[in-house]
């Protein structure tokens, strides 16, 4: 038996192509970025080697520190707000409720829409002059609550997070739904016969058995949060006054607007290391190797 599962040639065939592609396309940019991050380089003229100066600058620059803080806040919001909602929906739908297929299909729709569409939609919701949110507040007799959601420091950060949080609820729901569906119905049936309530069954049988997929969801959402770029960039561009800046938008403007390839690469290395750190922490939490 072991012979079959440890045949070296077979293993090489199974993982070889993936590793090859991976080394060529993913690892090289990481190596190269790490090298760039030690340079003061504008992407044009001769680079100067400056050692760890870019990293020193990153941790002393209030703009960079603020962007890191924002992405951590966003990761927190994903884990403690978005994922519980996704899990609840997945469990409800997986329990075989009427219209299960329909709901599962519809809830996923926002994930299908491209960033441009979602950004347009939310800018119409938030718009200070004619947006849906302000119109609604005015119509229900709360005109004093109408404000410039994306244009002022107090609300911009929360307002720019909500669209992405909302968009990906369906994404994690689909993952967790597949996980919940993999739990053997016999086990649930047995628990029911023993007189366990639906909620108890969920907590003591279904969720523990969904652990692998919950971990996948958790890792995806944390990594996704630390790398968040698209919607923030389109909705606020990191503004007003850098309040909504996250490491990846800062990295983008650093490289493409101010020609600082070295500093931008240092930021990207930071993002990679940060993601790695959190993945390790999550694995420790779940007591798994990967």
């Amino acid at each position: 038996m072991d012979k079959v599962f440890s045949n070296k040639r077979d293993i090489a065939i199974f993982v070889g192509p993936t590793l090859l592609l991976f080394f060529g396309i993913v690892l090289i940019p990481i190596f190269v970025s790490s090298y760039y991050s030690l340079l003061e380089w504008n992407g044009v003229t001769k680079p100067t080697f400056i050692g760890l100066d870019n990293y020193v600058e990153m941790f002393t620059d209030s703009r960079a520190l603020n962007s890191m803080k924002n992405s951590l806040l966003y990761a927190g919001a994903s884990v403690f707000i978005q994922l519980p909602i996704s899990l609840l929906l997945a469990l409800i739908l997986a329990s075989g409720i009427k219209g299960e297929g329909f709901y599962r299909t519809v809830y996923f729709i926002p994930v299908l829409l491209s960033t441009v569409v979602i950004a347009q939609l939310w800018s119409k919701i938030y718009n200070a002059d004619y947006g849906m949110l302000n119109t609604l507040l005015t119509n229900i007799g709360l005109p004093h609550l109408a404000q410039d959601w994306l244009g002022q420091r107090e609300t911009a950060l929360a307002a720019s997070f909500i669209p992405t949080l909302w968009q990906y609820v369906g994404y994690h729901m689909l993952l967790m739904y597949a996980g919940a569906k993999s739990v053997s119905p016999e086990l649930i049936e047995a628990a029911k016969i023993d007189g366990a309530s639906t909620i108890r069954t969920a907590f003591s049988i279904v969720i523990p058995l969904m652990k692998p997929i919950l971990k996948v969801s958790l890792v995806f959402s944390v990594i996704g949060a630390l790398k968040i770029f698209d919607l923030i960039y389109v909705l606020t561009g990191g503004g007003p006054f850098f309040t909504t800046e996250v490491p990846s938008t800062l990295m983008y403007t650093t490289i493409f607007d101010t020609y600082r390839y070295g500093y931008g690469s240092a930021l990207s290395v930071f993002i990679i290391l940060e993601c790695l750190l959190f993945t390790v922490i999550i694995n420790k939490f779940f007591k798994t190797d990967y």
Partner: protein, 288 residues
Amino acid sequence: MEAAISGQPRKSKLFYRIGMILLQAMLVLFAVVQIYPLIWLAFFSLKDNSEIFSGDVLGPPKQFLWSNYTKALSDGNVLTYFINSVWVTAVTIFLVLLLSSMSAYAITRMKWRFSNATMTLILLGMMVPIHAALLPLFMVLRNLKLLNTHWALIIPYVAFGLPLAIFILASFFKGVPREMEESAVMDGCGIYRTFFFIVLPLVRPALVTVAIFTFLSSWNELMFAVTFINDTIYQTLTVGIMSMVGTYITQWGIIGAGLMISTIPTIIIYLLLNKQVQESMIAGAVKG
């Protein structure tokens, strides 16, 4: 006393009924919220600028401006873009499914020294911010003489799509009971037959899920598509749509129509794949 006992189930049944109705109402409400963006996009694509920038921004258009669609489609290359997107995405999905399922299986089931290290390494792929990878990747593709071909998109899409796929599949393979493979091997099936005919069908829902995610990320990708391709004959739909955004003046209704044109296939493909999820779930293929 007796009445109370016999009343108990009836009462809880009533509660259960009310709870169910409330739950359904909530689910329906959420469904409306989730489906509205699509309806909004349809409205948006039929408006003119003055309606888009004032008035009832989320409601239906006063008059349906079908000319937005004719203008969006008048770009003679839309069909080319579309075919390119379909081809690139299809090849990407196929390669991701094949490579990710094989390597995820090797990592979770086969016995070799570096399996855990490999998994950690592969996860790195999800952590790379692609804007920083753009220049190094450009150089790699240039040195491989692949710039300005379909492979310039397929290869990065596959490479960056693999980590997510492997991660999802590995977690599902873990749930597959070893007995099935072992009995298959006992019956004299080789590892390949065991894998392709016994194991893969067991994780069909996961494969379809991976296909959906891979489809989305490559279909909507813009940055690589802009940077690695110069010729119209290889350009994809996202780039085509973005070209409609004027440099100085923008007619948003036409862009809306373009977005709609690129979203419809997404919805159709999703619904088809979704049916697959449905069927494989009903078949109860996955046994805990």
